[in-house]
Amino acid sequence: MQNNTQNTSSGMSLIVKTVARILAGMIMLYGIYIVAHGHLTPGGGFAGGVIIAGSFILLYLAYGATAADSDKRKWYASLCESLGIFGFWIVAILGLVFGTYFLFNIFAKGTPFHLFSAGIIPVCNVAIGVEVAGALVGIFITFAAVKLLERK
């Protein structure tokens, strides 16, 4: 057992922390699966992004936070969010540049039911997933940081 896990005063009990640590990876993996298979199975960028954000929020709730490192985390969340929406717009404009119209499906459609198929749809799904995950984690950290600042 790691030392810093037992010594930190913030957050919940050791049981919650251990379970959250084990489960967070699986939840995130499930979210990534939902995003990556968005064009094959139910789900997609929005659902998978929210699940990925859920894994971060689980860790955040279990381990607690201080006002100092929440600024850095908020910066990363904001970066993810901005990169996601930027990627989506770039893909949309690439259709205008290389294709005929805005949001044109510029990539090859591939074989149906394969992971790499359907042209820009998986790319857009990944972009939306990154954006939604960053957005929700960012909102959550922002609200939590307000609480920390008020307590101080």
Partner: protein, 178 residues
Amino acid sequence: MIDLYIWIGLMIIGAIVALEAPDLISAVISLGVCGFSLVFIFLRLHAPDLAIVQIIVETLSLIILIAAILRTTREDTQERLSLQKVALWLGGLFFMTVFMLSAYRIAHEMSRFGHPLLRMAASYLDMGLMKTGAANLVAAVILDFRAYDTLGEATVLFTSVIGVMAVLRAVGRKKRGG
């Protein structure tokens, strides 16, 4: 069909309890009953995409609501029976009667479930896989046929988060706190 009515009944009961419960924690949990019943309704109506989103968003919003209650108060404000409240109830009853009557007429004129009225929907169903290559028809619609909507939606989400971060930023709060 009967299970659908059971879930809808649970939703209605959950919503009423959420309004009337004196303890706010039980009100939020009843709201959860309402939301999770909606998950089963979505599953029953063959909409797993919506069910996944609903179950995750419902969980997250419950967490945020419970966090808000733990930080403020658990007790609902008490209201005494006054003329104003009776008038509100009567008005609500009148609205519900009119709404139910018109909904009854509209429900009879609607096409059957799974048989869309628009010709567009049929061509989406037929051509979706061929035109986009996506096996999930929902993904084909939201990211190919109706990609403008999704792009706008993602941009709205981005803008709203930027707004939340700007309003609740640490700099402004520190200044006011002194």
